[in-house]
Subunit: 278 residues, 2 copies
């Protein structure tokens, strides 16, 4: 997977880079943000993967979250990929919640999506393989994300025991099978049989999780999508039923925006850094 | 000056707001970002004015600089206005460096600019009057900015002794009369006689400054505009000639982007907070 560095900017003593690379899994070129903390000049560092939400590219998180300060404090690399395959050859749809910018971190099985929309394999296998071969990464991994990307982080961690030291999410789509965003995307990508959806639904996955990796979730109390699309009480009940450790923090007044992420990303990075160095 | 609050988002325990208001000075509607720290719920706070650079609106600073964290720590309100008059009735030009998004914080005297392009009066008089009448502001003021806005901050502070407790700038256009960006804008807004330009040129103004307000300037060493448009050595020489206090910090590796601002805005806000509370 050859890569070209297309942005390289000093930031908090380290470097905020963006790479463009050809993805075999996705069958297209992808862009990915990489923050290298100052510690990476002296030796390999752990990596936090950040999965962004609907409509985002790799740019949203790296320009708006203010995460670099904390990554520099703790010596953590942050890898923030784009949210779907891209390019003229890639299928798309009307609306912001399907197709480009809305890959939902699944491997699509239905036409016209199955050829390129394999974000699950990209995030779980191809991207980490590239990161660990080409960046000063020490092999320790954590994962987090926002909204659709919070769903992605939770499901990727739950499905891959032992692969991530820690997982967190901001305002994730906690039970995609039961809300409009998830139902629309899963019907298109996976077909109408909801049984196939369960493998990508955090609320369904906790029941059978082979590893009781604690989940840290922050949710804004004034989030405009709280009860229609996110529904934290469904994840909470599923975790309670099997004793899966969940720290769900309802943050009063906060909405679904990057102002919310910026306000608490420091606590999440500290949480991940503790696990990554433990 | 009636105002409508068009954004209101929780951020670091306070509120990142955006107001739209009718400006008498500019003869148009303007938008302005206002960060209210948590301390503003309990009493009036000092205000830091932030002037943005070419092409910016009020959004760039409030979404990309990560300043809210530090404003919340120090109890400082941040007021971040748009960079020019706006609207269909307002004159514009080809190119990013004249007209809309490029007000240069001057009062234009030439057609077609003189009717609306009065950003100097807006920043010095109209905006602070509105802020102090409508926000929990205690009357203590500081000013900072980036690039064109760094030029604005320096000139506004130098021309108004006693009005600002402190001033700083990131990669300011330090001697606009002597560089292409400034010469193009000043010729259009002020006419071809360079004598009229001196009143808006920080390097010229320090010679006659009635108050020796210390200048704090951060400049990226890898800034692509360093020697063509910014030219810190001209301000440095002018300050040295008259003993005007200047702290000019060349930050190796940093460029002209918001990644640079984000990396050092915390130190600038601490500097202003110290002066504002002194």
């Amino acid at each position: 997977m050859a890569a070209e560095r297309i942005e390289h900017r000093a930031c908090f003593g380290g470097w905020q880079d963006v790479y463009r690379h050809a993805s075999d899994v996705l069958g297209c070129e992808m862009t990915v943000g990489v923050y290298l903390p100052p510690q990476a000049e002296h030796g390999p560092c752990p990596v936090l993967y950040w999965l962004s939400g609907l409509t985002c590219t790799e740019q949203n998180f790296i320009t708006k979250a203010g995460a670099q300060r904390y990554a520099a404090e703790h010596g953590v690399i942050i890898v923030a990929p784009d949210t779907s395959p891209r390019g003229e050859a890639v299928a798309d749809a009307e609306g912001y919640d399907l197709g480009k910018g809305a890959g939902f971190y699944v491997n699509a099985t239905r036409e016209p999506w199955s050829r390129h929309y394999r974000m699950y394999d990209y995030i779980v296998d191809e991207l980490p393989a590239w990161v660990e071969a080409n960046l000063p990464a020490n092999g320790a991994r954590a994962i987090s994300g926002h909204s659709m990307g919070g769903h992605g982080a939770l499901t990727v961690a739950l499905k891959n025991p032992g692969r991530y030291r820690s997982v967190s999410a901001f305002s994730p789509i906690m039970a995609p099978s039961q809300v409009p965003w998830g139902q629309k995307a899963f019907t298109a990508y996976l077909g109408e049989d909801a049984v196939a959806w369960q493998q990508y639904d955090a609320t369904a996955l906790v029941a059978d999780a082979a590893e009781r990796l604690p989940l840290l979730v922050d949710q804004g109390g004034a989030d405009e999508f709280l009860q229609t699309q996110l529904r934290p009480q469904l994840l909470q009940a599923a975790c309670a039923a099997v004793g899966h450790p969940l720290t769900l923090r309802l943050q009063p007044g906060y909405d679904h925006s990057y102002y919310f992420i910026a306000s608490f990303i420091g606590e999440h990075i500290a949480h991940h850094a503790h696990a990554l160095k433990g």
